[in-house]
Each structure stands twice: as C-alpha cells, then as structure tokens.
C-alpha cells in the first residue's frame, strides 16, 4: 500500500494545494517496505499534485485541508483520504501505517507546539 503525505517542513502541509513537497511511503500492512521517497514539486498547485498521486498509484493520501472537488475525485478513484491532519508528518505516517489515523486528527506533536 502506497501512502502519500503532503509536507511543509516537518509537518503536514496545512493545505493540499499549497504543498511544495510530498513524501511517499510503502508498507505491507504491518511495516514499511523500502525507503521513504521525498518528491519536491516545482510549483504549488492541486492539479500537478493530483496528477502525481494518480501516476504514482497512491492508495492513501494524508493531508491538511483539501478542496472538495479533489476529495471527491480521489474517493472516486478509490484513494483513501485522511484530511484535516495537523502535526508532524513522521507521526502521521506511523499512525497511517498502524491504521489508527482518522481525518481531522490533531497529532500530539501539534499539541506540544
């Protein structure tokens, strides 16, 4: 299963269309498979990011706020979207892998800040 996280510095990007960087992770249901891949986007924009998500065959997107059109598009494409996530991307990834992440989760790292 392939997970994509929209990233800004060390946190999940507050808005899907404002992400400048993404991290792609693969896991077999229990643990990570291979290394994390960091992809730097040449410019901000939901369109290019959506293309990348489809092209990469992503199964799960972890992001902050996302436009409804894109949310619908991904769910129509059978891509799970966890939106409204606030906190560090490493924490969000761990929770996504363990199956405990839910949309709107405010992660402990965000509360500490």
């Amino acid at each position: 299963m392939k997970i994509l996280l929209t990233v800004h510095d060390k946190s999940i990007a507050p808005r899907f269309d404002q992400a400048t960087e993404v991290i792609i992770a693969e896991h077999d249901g229990h643990r990570m498979v291979g290394d994390l891949r960091t992809i730097i986007l040449s410019r901000r924009g939901a369109e290019d990011l959506s293309d990348l998500i489809v092209k990469e065959g992503i199964d799960c997107v972890v992001c902050g706020g996302i436009e409804e059109n894109y949310y619908r598009f991904f769910t129509w494409k059978k891509i799970t979207v966890f939106d409204g996530i606030i906190g560090s991307h490493s924490e969000a990834l761990q929770m996504a892998i363990s199956g405990t992440l839910r949309s709107g989760t405010i992660l402990p790292s965000a509360v500490e800040e």
Binding site: T20, E21, D35, R37, T38, I39, I40, L41, S42, R43, R44, D48, L52
Partner: protein, 184 residues
C-alpha cells in the same frame, strides 16, 4: 594510421599511470569534501526547499534566479555541479548551459525539465549537460545524479581530447600500437 603525436601519446600513457592514483584519492578524500551545488531556477520556493534539503544531506548548496546572477555565482563560487531548471517557452535557458560550459567545461550540469521542455532537455544533453530529469523531482534520485556527476568531474581530463581520460583510452583500439611506438 597515426592519429596522435608522440607528446599526446605520452600524456595518455601518463594518464594511465595517474588514473588509479586519482581514483583512489577520490574515494578517500571525497566523503570529507562538500560537493558544491548551484541551483538555477526562477521559482524561489522550489530553490529554497531544494537548497535546504541538499544542505541537510551535506552538500554546499546555493541558489540563483537565472541569467546574470547565475553566471556571476558560477564565476565566483565555481560549483562542482549546477542544477539548471528549464522553462517552457524560454529557449534561451540553454544559453546559460553554454555559458557555463564555455567558462569551465568540467562543471557538470543537470537539467530539470517540465512540460514542454523535453526537446530543450535533449538539446542540452547534446550541448554537454550531464543528464536531465523531469519535474517533479525525487530527492534521492537527484542526490544520486549529483554524486555521479561529481565523480565524473573528478576523472582527469586532457586538454584537446574533450572527454574524460579513462574512457578515451578504453575507446582507442590502437592502444598496443601507441604504447609500442612510445617505447620505440
């Protein structure tokens, strides 16, 4: 057919002797040296992130917006590797590549292409760019290319041959004849 003068043959032969030493010293010295990378792009956010990420991986990374600023930075800092972003509809972006190569042919240039710049990327390869990558770029792949470009830059060049010494020796089918003429 004699294709090289005796002096050139001597230089090639000395290169054979020197290459293993250079190669060995690179493997010993390079991990302690910071590879100098210059990113040339008109997208400040992109250059900021890439510069930051490359620095965190141990590179000495700087960014320039393009044109004169880029060339003055190349002249001043003499980077090992330049990452040059090509823009659609800006054919003159390749002029920067030509200027860098004219200034110092050993500086390796990696081109970043996007929609509409694939042809420019191919032209760039013909003009001496090390490689081109389509955007968005994967950081791990770019880092690997930068390291390979730097390793290629470290291979000794002979003026007049225009190609790295070691491959030029391998490409020559007349090495035995050349060596025998050297000692004749």
């Amino acid at each position: 057919m004699v294709w090289a003068s005796r002096q050139e043959v001597t230089v090639v032969f000395l290169g054979i002797l020197i290459f293993p030493v250079c190669h060995a010293s690179n493997t010993l010295v390079l991990p302690m040296q910071k590879i100098k990378v210059l990113i040339i792009s008109e997208e400040p956010e992109f250059t900021d992130i890439l510069t930051d990420r490359l620095r965190s991986w141990g590179f000495t990374a700087n960014a320039a917006g393009g044109g004169d600023e880029a060339m003055s930075m190349v002249t001043q800092s003499r980077p090992d590797v330049v990452i040059l972003s090509l823009r659609s509809g800006h054919g003159h972006d390749l002029d920067t590549l030509s200027m860098i190569k004219n200034l110092d042919a050993t500086i390796e240039v990696i081109l970043l292409t996007c929609k509409g710049t694939a042809i420019a990327g191919m032209k760039g390869i013909e003009q001496g760019a090390f490689d081109c990558m389509h955007q968005p770029i994967e950081l791990g792949v770019l880092i690997e290319k930068i390291r390979r470009a730097h390793a290629q830059r470290s291979v000794p060049y002979i003026k007049g041959f225009g190609v790295p010494l070691f491959p030029s020796i391998l490409a020559c089918e007349q090495v035995p004849e050349l060596l025998s003429s050297l000692f004749a």
